[in-house]
């Protein structure tokens, strides 16, 4: 039945593309999570009246985040071509999409981390300081656990955005479902291929959202 509804779909190619999309999304989400968390915590701790209050660090980090967050993703990919080429020796393939995906998403996530951390009750941080906690203890045992639900719902939103970014990256040759929809579907005028690619992207997004929501609810003991 699937063959009659989607006569032009090459299933093997479709699965390969799905795998590539999942690969790009997973790797970039993991690295974005780590990088965004580090930048977000730096932004938080360097802001006024915080543990590392430092105007210069805060201004520089904040500016970098804002600049990269403001560049449209499709432009960012093009701007990063020389960098990617230097880093990986090629600008084609799933790996080549990763630098752009991460640099595009990490500042976005860093902002979400900052918002999550600002929601933490100041009194709890003060209590930890009054017990003689080091800053590293405060980061690992207070800041991260106390903002975990917000950090997870933030990375869920970011991961969904990254699925969209991988599709855009696909258009300039990174592979994945976006690439397939554009080359095999749009350019060869095979609407069924585009439709199938879209359905698969939607399924990926729904699964990410479902898992994210589940973990958010599970970690929230408030």
């Amino acid at each position: 039945m699937l063959t009659s509804l989607f006569p032009n779909v090459d299933w093997e190619k479709m699965w390969d593309a799905t795998y590539e999309t999942l690969y790009m999304t997973t790797i970039s989400t993991v690295i974005t999570f780590i990088l965004g968390l580090v930048i977000g915590i730096l932004l938080f701790l360097s802001s006024p009246n915080q543990l590392w209050a430092n105007k210069i660090v805060n201004f520089l980090t904040g500016s970098i985040v804002n600049i990269f967050r403001s560049i449209p993703f499709i432009v960012l990919i093009i701007l990063l071509i020389p960098f990617t080429k230097f880093l990986l020796g090629t600008i084609r393939g799933a790996d080549a999409a990763l630098p752009a995906l991460i640099i595009g998403a990490a500042p976005f996530y860093a902002r979400m981390v900052l918002i999550a951390l600002r929601e933490i009750d100041k009194g709890v941080i003060e209590a930890a300081r009054s017990m003689g906690a080091k800053t590293s203890t405060i980061i690992w045992k207070v800041l991260i656990p106390e903002s975990l639900p917000a950090l997870i719902s933030g990375i869920t939103v970011t991961a969904v955005a990254l699925v969209g970014y991988t599709a855009m990256a696909g258009i300039i040759g990174a592979g994945g479902l976006g690439n397939l929809a554009f080359l095999d579907g749009f350019q060869r005028n095979r609407t069924d291929v585009t439709l199938m690619a879209t359905i698969l992207i939607l399924i990926v997004v729904f699964i990410i959202q479902f898992i994210g929501d589940m973990i958010t609810i599970k970690t929230d003991k408030r």
Binding site: V124, E126, G132, K141
Partner: protein, 342 residues
């Protein structure tokens, strides 16, 4: 145990410099429960945070438990803080941790191994009366229970000093009393020095040995609680004392009496300590030919004895009334004529 010398703390704000604490000197003895009372903005919050180095003074020195908190830094300050713990108005528990895990937190900070940690947490849970709630999250506890967790957490590393930052202000009167009883119990059993800040005279009366009254960054009055109750000097202290003695109903009753019985004199008698147990009134009625009607009476227990007030109306011949009043002064009952109805 605690020595504060010539402390001043200034903050820079958008509208200029603000002096939160102004040239304060204070010394608190080991094992004492010391209260600092003041309205919000009086500088008491800053004061208590100077005692564990959460705030650094602009000038002066703060020594607590032989550590100069005004100057130590880094690991030395963090180690010193483990012996000067703090509880808070809004409890400040980690919502992501259970009761047992919250109490274990300061032990983790101090690097206590897991097995010892668990044993200590168990002890503390029993000490504050939270058996059976170990696995509950703070969101499942009442305010009083949350403060018990706060107290257990503060006691985890066997501190020498406990700082209480408006620890009962968010609790209802009954829970407040239960928590205050717990603090007294801890003070007596562990010999812990307790410093508390509050805006409620009730708290001072119930558990403090000595009190300091703060206004606009300065200590305007200090002394034994009973003595301050008996003879408040500063206007603000009188206001705080009247929180306990002159309730609004009392004032209304007095006004009513004045209107209904224009004869005689309304007198407020103040009894302190053992005087509260003597039959002063019956002596005085027998000895002098006067009529006495009781308008209002009140006895408050403080840590160093009872403090009672009695408002009576004394009627009779003018000479007899005067003689009666001077008799009261000879038995060391303080008198205060409220209104001369004639």
């Amino acid at each position: 145990m605690i020595n504060i010398q010539n402390i001043t703390k200034k903050y820079k704000t958008a509208s200029g410099e603000l002096t939160a604490v102004k040239e304060v000197n204070l010394s608190i003895n080991k094992g004492e429960i010391f209260g600092i009372i003041g309205y919000s903005g009086a500088g008491k919050s800053t004061m208590i945070r100077l005692l564990n180095g959460l705030e650094k003074p602009t000038s002066g020195t703060v020594t607590v438990n032989n550590q100069e908190f005004s100057s130590i830094k880094g690991q030395k300050l963090r180690d010193a803080r483990q012996k000067v713990s703090m509880i808070f108005q809004h409890f400040n528990l980690l919502w992501s941790r259970t009761v047992a895990e919250n109490i274990a937190f300061p032990l983790e900070i101090a690097g206590v191994p897991k097995v010892k940690r668990e044993a200590r947490v168990k002890e503390l849970i029993t000490l504050v009366g939270l058996e059976g709630r170990e696995k509950a999250y703070p969101s499942q506890l009442s305010g009083g229970q949350k403060q018990r967790v706060g107290i257990a957490r503060a006691l985890a590393n066997n501190p020498e000093v406990l700082l209480c930052d408006e620890a009962t202000s968010a609790l209802d009167p009954e829970t407040t009393d239960a928590i205050l009883d717990l603090l007294v119990d801890i003070n007596e059993r562990l010999g812990l020095t307790i410093v508390l800040i509050t805006h409620e005279m009730h708290v001072i009366r119930k558990i403090c040995h000595r009190v300091a009254v703060m206004e606009a960054g300065e200590i305007v009055e200090r002394g034994e609680v009973l003595q301050v109750f008996q003879a408040p000097q500063a206007a603000i202290t009188k206001k705080f004392v009247s929180q306990i003695t002159d309730t609004k109903e009392t004032q209304e009753t007095v006004a009513q009496i004045k209107a209904n019985y224009p004869n005689g004199q309304l007198v407020k008698l103040i009894f302190v300590g053992e005087k509260t147990e003597q039959p002063v009134i019956s002596h005085f009625v027998k000895q002098f030919d006067v009529e006495v009607s009781i308008v209002h009476g009140n006895i408050s227990q403080t840590k160093n004895g009872a403090y009672g007030t009695l408002i009576v109306q004394i009627d009779g011949l003018e000479a007899n009334v005067a003689a009666a009043l001077s008799y009261l002064n000879t038995v060391e009952v303080q008198t205060e004529v409220i209104a001369n109805a004639n």
